[in-house]
Symmetry: C2
Subunit: 201 residues, 2 copies
């Protein structure tokens, strides 16, 4: 069976960077935006809808006005969401079956549970996450600290709801992961990759 590493991460914690660098170091595939690209390619969901739905709260789903924007009847939101989840799940499973890989976000730890992935959770305190967003994220330039904090909280809330809905587990609860890394301490991501590689091998 392939060696699968899933990376769940708080927004601004550097989890994506850990995933990318780890895959690079191990010489294995890395899937993050690639999942979205594949969904765009193979499903008839509109690209905007896919981006709107990705790791977002599945319920109470699209408000009527948003649904109309996407040309969907307002009351079939749940069905639509489940269809989206099934498609995303299928893409992720195919990636995982192809070769060893690192997969970021999207409930992959739960979706692939019978493949026994090593499940990482990356987190950090708010101060470090704000600092990291300022350093890495261009969008952050237009926001003051209070707004950035709000954004971080809001993205995480959506991820938590998505995870709760599909995995029926609490997002970020350490019992659902094999290794939880606080990057407030390990701020230099590059430095922790060699140790991490040894641990997950």
């Amino acid at each position: 069976m392939n060696r699968i590493i899933t990376v769940s991460r708080e927004f601004g914690s550097g989890g994506r960077e850990i995933g990318r660098r780890l895959a690079e170091k191990m010489g294995i595939a890395y899937y993050d935006q690639e999942i979205i690209a594949e969904l765009i390619k193979r499903t008839d969901f509109a690209e905007e809808y896919i981006r709107h739905m990705d790791e977002k709260n599945p319920i109470p789903l699209l408000p009527i006005t948003t649904a109309r924007t996407f040309g969907l009847p307002a009351n079939n939101g749940l069905e639509q969401n489940l269809k989206f989840y099934m498609q995303e799940s299928k893409v992720i499973r195919e990636f995982a079956e192809k070769s060893d890989c690192v997969i970021v976000g999207r409930c992959a730890d739960y979706m692939l549970r019978e493949m026994n992935p090593v499940r990482l959770f990356v987190y950090a305190d708010m101060e470090s996450r704000i600092a990291r967003c300022r350093k890495k994220n261009k969008d952050a330039e237009t926001l003051n600290d209070r707004e950035l904090r709000q954004k971080i909280i809001s993205v995480d809330k959506k991820r938590a709801r998505y995870y709760q809905f599909y995995a029926n587990q609490v997002w970020g609860e350490k019992e659902n992961y094999d290794l939880c890394i606080n990057t407030s301490r390990f701020s230099e991501i590059k430095a922790i990759i060699p140790g991490l590689e040894k641990l997950v091998k």
Copy 2:
């Protein structure tokens, strides 16, 4: 400043073994029962009292009958506990100031917070912990699974109360640690030491 690694651990998770092996691998000091031995040597607390108090619930403290056994007035429990904590804290601080080291349990992560320790938390699911206790702990032989489970829960409850009381933080909450390791996944402790060493260096 010395490199300090603190290991908090759920009972039966293998945290003590991780601490011991990590110290061995890094060639640095290891403190666990050594803290008790030092307290016995340098304080006028009775050895039984020290063993009774170690990492146990500090409040509501000794019931009257227990206090009498140790020859203490029943109503000065809190004062006595604080005195014990101060002494333990002093021993731990002296150890930490002497050289690089690994310290297991006893709120050391909090006691030494201004020395910026790398704070590990080791945990595992109940099934793995029962299995590990059966393998490692002679006392476990006399207990059936239900009793062993009760013991595990009871020891952890005491550790949690001790931590909550002295550190005013939630024991096991990942935000209070730099790295949380689920040994249900990494059951072969020996195998994870090289990676861990690299991470905490």
